[in-house]
Symmetry: D2
Subunit: 333 residues, 4 copies
Amino acid sequence: MIRVGVVGYGYWGPNLVRNFSETPGATVAAVCDLNADRLARVKTRHPSVRVTGDFDGLISDKNIDAVVIATPVRTHFELAMKALRGGKHVLVEKPLVDSSARAKRLIDEARKRRRVLMVDHTFVYTAAVRKIRELVTSRELGRLYYYDSVRINLGLFQHDVNVLWDLAVHDLAIMDYVLGKSPTTVSATGLAHVNGRPENIAYLTCYFENGLIAHFHVNWLAPVKIRQTLISGDRKMIVYDDLEPDEKIRVYDRGVEITKQNVYDVLVSYRTGDAWLPKLDRTEALSVEAAHFIECIAKNKQPLTGGEAGLRVIRILEAANRSLAAKGRPVKV
Amino acid sequence: MIRVGVVGYGYWGPNLVRNFSETPGATVAAVCDLNADRLARVKTRHPSVRVTGDFDGLISDKNIDAVVIATPVRTHFELAMKALRGGKHVLVEKPLVDSSARAKRLIDEARKRRRVLMVDHTFVYTAAVRKIRELVTSRELGRLYYYDSVRINLGLFQHDVNVLWDLAVHDLAIMDYVLGKSPTTVSATGLAHVNGRPENIAYLTCYFENGLIAHFHVNWLAPVKIRQTLISGDRKMIVYDDLEPDEKIRVYDRGVEITKQNVYDVLVSYRTGDAWLPKLDRTEALSVEAAHFIECIAKNKQPLTGGEAGLRVIRILEAANRSLAAKGRPVKV
Amino acid sequence: MIRVGVVGYGYWGPNLVRNFSETPGATVAAVCDLNADRLARVKTRHPSVRVTGDFDGLISDKNIDAVVIATPVRTHFELAMKALRGGKHVLVEKPLVDSSARAKRLIDEARKRRRVLMVDHTFVYTAAVRKIRELVTSRELGRLYYYDSVRINLGLFQHDVNVLWDLAVHDLAIMDYVLGKSPTTVSATGLAHVNGRPENIAYLTCYFENGLIAHFHVNWLAPVKIRQTLISGDRKMIVYDDLEPDEKIRVYDRGVEITKQNVYDVLVSYRTGDAWLPKLDRTEALSVEAAHFIECIAKNKQPLTGGEAGLRVIRILEAANRSLAAKGRPVKV
Amino acid sequence: MIRVGVVGYGYWGPNLVRNFSETPGATVAAVCDLNADRLARVKTRHPSVRVTGDFDGLISDKNIDAVVIATPVRTHFELAMKALRGGKHVLVEKPLVDSSARAKRLIDEARKRRRVLMVDHTFVYTAAVRKIRELVTSRELGRLYYYDSVRINLGLFQHDVNVLWDLAVHDLAIMDYVLGKSPTTVSATGLAHVNGRPENIAYLTCYFENGLIAHFHVNWLAPVKIRQTLISGDRKMIVYDDLEPDEKIRVYDRGVEITKQNVYDVLVSYRTGDAWLPKLDRTEALSVEAAHFIECIAKNKQPLTGGEAGLRVIRILEAANRSLAAKGRPVKV
């Protein structure tokens, strides 16, 4: 039985506690938060779970095997590092940390101590995203042309991270998992409309080798909620709409036919066929993810979204921030 | 009665002939095309209209007052210039010409000869876009934050202009009319997926003064058709969906409330109220536009979409092309 | 070459003339209408077509092989009967006539004179409806459970036929073709909201043998336009949305699993699988229909929507009218 | 403080317990269920609530003021009657009971003992339905023409009540509240597709005085989920889509203009204006309802959805069942 301590019981913590409580092979041994009201709420909902405001005590507790961190981003590094040094396996909410240098130090520490370091890229554990990866890696889409994502709504303005680090991080994590490769160059644009706050609207382009391009639109100030991703190859195209309750993915047998006419010219014509809406199972992503974390610990396996995945996403975000400050100037990742 | 000659009877020409035929004060005197089949089609549909393959003859015809040009972009300059020099009023399909230098020469020629030079920015004459301009100029939206447009579908790959010049030109024309000001800097990214063809996917960011940003996504290779524009101010927000048959515009009473807490901090909170779908009249845009062109000629008025509007849009497209070639490097307009 | 005379150039006539003009093996020889303006419009659009206000002259014209009737319903019988007696093949707009007795007399006359009598059940010639029939007859849906159709909008109030005869006739024609069988009993409800006008809202239930039920909602007074049909079998289910530009049909691999538990009880559980959007060709239905009419004449074949199909639909409408007058009392067909 | 006992902790009970727990002026004193697992679940979630399998003990408990019944329909009457006789206030899940005779006996008992008897017509307490009632009673819609509702999905087949008693009961409760009057005659059609189970698809028409008609389509076997109601008057029309997360209600300024031409004829023409999406508050309906029940007890008020409302709905359902068995024969309510 893996005994889990959850740190942070704000927005996401309750979901983590609930899911780890129901994960076979795991038990939630303790919840740590600095806020007494939140701890009282844990007691009401999970009377058998120990609550504490003392993180260091949690780390030195021999009865805790793994620590799950769901606190503000700026605290991730210190908490995760302490936990690893305390010999705990660690799962950290996204983004892993706030810089690639710190991400590397966590990865090194975890490797040295042979502990599991995993980042909570939740969407990777949804049925929709797993189905998309299957379609991409099986070459069903053919050669990839582009990846285009929109994640906008009237959302919470964050204090210390901009909209890329808050929202695009989800899409970059999905893209990292689906494509299995990283961009070489990025260009980002955007603006902060509230004085003293970070950018609330941003656009990010990622250039890959071999003629693949990805683009992300993230926005905290949109009148409507949109969560739509297009992934297009030369054989098929996917539309992934995360707001659809059931039919999140459509696979279109559409594209262009390119016929070489002669050395100078090609003929480009349309191709449209059937579309297909694969059935997706409805297991909660966080439940799949919790089970995966526990399995990685129990069987000494590498997680799908280990520290390296977190690092790859942060590298893109860091380059994006530099480009954003320079109105789109291309920046190497 | 203004006697109109239409040049080019391909995709758009038949709509021009049909609409000018029904415009009070105007008559279609002649249609010119190099293709005999097309001219035969004119004869079947409009038996009383003279057809010809000789553009120069059309220009020297004293019975023609105005020339409407709907030919490939690369031919616009020469045809429009000849027509102006022949003393004709001229309406040119968008984009006006293929460079700002040529646009300026046309504008100068038209001014010198006191002729109307107008560009067919069709969307400016739709009820939806006129309503949007009304909402923007009346300050109903408050201070503008952003303009975001998506115009994608499985579209015809053009030979000589890229997807910005083919599709974004529509949105830039709309934006020029709605905002009444031009961006200072642009950043564009994109890719050509077919060898020897221009870019088929592109993203364009326009920076304005005073914290306004605009973004355009255009794509010839999308599995689904989307024509959606978001325009957001600090008081209200518009969603304009051109594919909706009736309810093209929604005005949302949504936004953020920014409360100054102290010199160091602000509080940002949501605000959501009713939404409103204004009724739009269903007159065909081209019919409004044809009447406007005739009225400008008859009453010696400046058209809403004169040569200067065409020039402003081309300047953005030229800057975008330079940025696109440099993977998003910011370029001054 | 089959020489066609079109009678009636109001709402639907222009579409008929245009399509028969382009049908191989056919030519539109004459158009007959009592209204001079309409005949002038024919002359402008189709200068080579003879126009006339004299129906009897058309009938006795040896140069006419077939007559297409697109006049008000109450005139169908007389015009079609005269045409058949004049030795013409006849295509009549839906509904065929205004009573089953008259439909039978037309059918008899056509049979006696070996002429083609066809009714313009246009939807039968759409790619969507042909695909649905294919799915039903191939038993892809399994045993049929129900057919449910909604056809509503803010529509034209008719003077002399109620909303069932104006709108439900389309759906009954589709159902007749798709199911290949007729209901045994109907129940209809509805109301007339405008004094002196026929019913503008109506609901019609059709009972078939073997546990199949069909229902139709038609309405001239709806705030939104809906054209949706559900067809459900024990293996698969279809959603047919005629307003979708491309994806009119979705086939759902959904249903219930019925497991016999014992003699007294069954277990009913859900089954959901993938969905599928078949590609449909975009040929205009009326063009397919015109070609079919010409082929039936040339090759002496029975049309898909012959007089008998028209009669079957009218029988349902007659029974529906009787039930409607009696607030839903079941009426045998 | 009103002390509430909740009976039945199956599908709906947990929502009742949660909401009454958070209702000011109320406390959940006990939960009663025959199933030990369910009672254990109560203990985990609400450690301070007493659990019991003994209903009669609950009734005789002096510390319980009110009983909330969320058990199968066939048990409602006996449990509610016992509770009233035990001097408790009673809230019963919909439908109130399974016959109008029994509903009347409960109403009489409650009146005699001066206890609150309320039925859980949940939708009446939603912001959407309250807004609709406001629009109807303020005559914003003008004279009402029709009420049309569709409530279909791939739903749970019930054992002992048909789809009208399971699903249409929601819509009849909404209609009763919104219109404030009852139909005079009903006609219902439908079918049972699974042997030994009640009807799984049904259509119900309600005739009112003064030219108002209502229709309901309910279906447990639909491939898609639809929850849509149209309410049309001679001035405005409402579309209420309960699946829309935010914009559940649209008010259309649409209709027909009826102009008297002469004694024999009227001219009917369209009228279309703006549409409007009122903002709705997002308070959970059950929370509003729980507070209302408590307020009625505390202040001795008549509930919005008292026993009489339950009775009116059951009368329609009883008449509908008789009509359904006779294939639509009209039945007086």
